[in-house]
Symmetry: C2
Subunit: 188 residues, 2 copies
Amino acid sequence: MSVELRQHIEKITPLTDEEFAYILSHFKTKKLRKHQFLIQEGDHVHNDHWVQKGLLKAYHTDEDGKERILQFAMEDWWITDYQAYFNEGNASIYIDCIEDAELLVLSLENREKLCNEIHGIANFFRRKSNFGFIALQQRILLLLNKNPQERYERLLQLSPQLLKRLPKTLLASYLGVSRETLSRLSQF
Amino acid sequence: MSVELRQHIEKITPLTDEEFAYILSHFKTKKLRKHQFLIQEGDHVHNDHWVQKGLLKAYHTDEDGKERILQFAMEDWWITDYQAYFNEGNASIYIDCIEDAELLVLSLENREKLCNEIHGIANFFRRKSNFGFIALQQRILLLLNKNPQERYERLLQLSPQLLKRLPKTLLASYLGVSRETLSRLSQF
């Protein structure tokens, strides 16, 4: 079970069968349908989530009710409200499903336990966090670039799979352009 | 020497005198004057930098020559081009000094060495990276918020020290507003 999670971890750190079985025993599974919420603003956040199947979005809702998309997550990505998760606080964002989703769920307590017990897994999470940091820097540079055409092409370069799969309305919102501008950029 | 670095690490993980001396022996020092570059686009990036004294900015230059500010760093913060650092590649951003700076410099090789040798320091960098990730999420939410007044107030709440110290032109650029709008927002 969950060969994919093992492959995901082993991209960074090798594991024995026993280690992987032990690690996996600290995860729970969760299934959600399209449009269901994983996290709502104000929820106490206990868990990080690795996407086994599906597509989700994390977003903030402005006072005018508009969704501001923080990140997407598809297979092999992790998603939660990290501010709430690491500080053991309440969510300031929403996360819901764009497609039906199957998740592997890891509590902060179990994560810290695994990191203290297995050097390799501490190393894995340390490196994942570094790469997550880089991805967010890319997102910021994308947002700071004032040229919509360049923003679109950069995203196409960074995440071609994601771009193919996203509903156009969400893609436009992520790029901070109108639906009409997006049609022009991508020549649908 | 560098009581501050020890305090900085010990906010997360306790260290013995011997451990700290050993860790410190893996750092070099670097002094830069105001306006000097720490990193220029295309440089091979070997090092991360902890700010002992001073104020720096990391930015991307658009094709039109405009600076897009990615982050600032003052005392107790870390700064480098993390994409280049973790991937052992070349810089895609510039980092220069807003004020004279004294830095403690850590190569990726020494960082990995220390993380493999001392569990506490691996733990420290893992947690720092988590908090860095959160700070970038905050920056993204700031950029996604279309209301300049709210962006200003949010930054005031998150980093009051930074806000006091930044030249107004850079602050306006960071917030993505004009110098005139900033004056109105902050009632200078």
